[in-house]
């Protein structure tokens, strides 16, 4: 498994290990995709969710479960997850495009509207994209969440962007 050899999962491996949102839920709009596959003691995703859509429970090494119908795709958990392992994917963004929101703790932040190179879990370029939103409110505690618009076909692959240089 690449996860323990190279540090990343493929989407197929993730699906084999953990529940991801159903196609029906993806079709309804933005939803959290939780890529947390090891039992580590951690539960801020559960307590940060305003819709109580994430359950960890007791003990806190339980893997988080998402009640996909309750999730509004708000992104609070994306900023709060210490492992930065949660993404918000909107496959209903337009007929041809999707958006992926991810935590991005690097300066400089990209500008909204900027053309960027989207990368996959291995940091490899996948496609071009456009930054549609950069959120960095106080509540996110210095973990900005960047959302990029990309061709729909890459929604399960794209998990970041190439970094700018300081």
């Amino acid at each position: 498994m690449p996860l323990l050899k190279c540090g990343y999962l493929t989407y197929e491996e993730l699906r084999a290990l953990r529940a991801v949102p159903s196609d029906a839920r993806y079709a309804k709009g933005p939803v959290a995709v939780i890529e947390c596959v090891q039992e580590i003691p951690c539960n801020p995703c559960e307590t940060s969710c305003p819709s109580r859509a994430i359950c960890v429970g007791d003990p806190i090494v339980n893997l988080p479960c998402l009640a996909e119908e309750q999730c509004t795709g708000c992104g609070m958990c994306v900023a709060k997850c210490p492992g930065m392992a949660i993404f918000v994917v909107d496959k209903a963004y337009s007929d041809t495009t999707a958006t992926v929101g991810f935590p991005y703790e690097y300066f400089p932040l990209p500008e909204e509207g900027a053309a960027v190179t989207a990368v996959d879990r291995a940091g490899q370029p996948v496609c071009g994209g456009t930054v549609v939103r950069v959120m960095n409110p106080k509540a996110f505690d210095h973990t900005p969440v960047v959302t990029v618009e990309i061709p729909k076909a890459f929604a399960d692959e794209v998990r970041g962007i190439e970094r700018g240089t300081c």
Partner: protein
Amino acid sequence: MCMRVENHVVLDTAPSGRLVTITVDGQPVEAFEGEAILAALLAKGIIINRYTVKKQEPRGLFCGIGQCTDCAMIVDGKPNVRTCITPVRAGMVIETQNGLGKAGA
């Protein structure tokens, strides 16, 4: 290229001390008062702090917390000062240390 960390997403990296001048091997070097001597030198790309006693090998930052003594230098005439935990003061005279830092060593 400046080696200082600037524009950081989490940290406020604005220096807290005033800019002062110290002397390093005879050359004036700007540093921030109160920062570790080692950090001020690293910011200027100076990475060798001393040469070993027997083989005159260069040494520099290794532990960064005052445990290993690889960053020892002569500070205001006093040898074996661990520069990673010793703060900068205006006018300090810093010298690269050879061996034990004494005449004939």
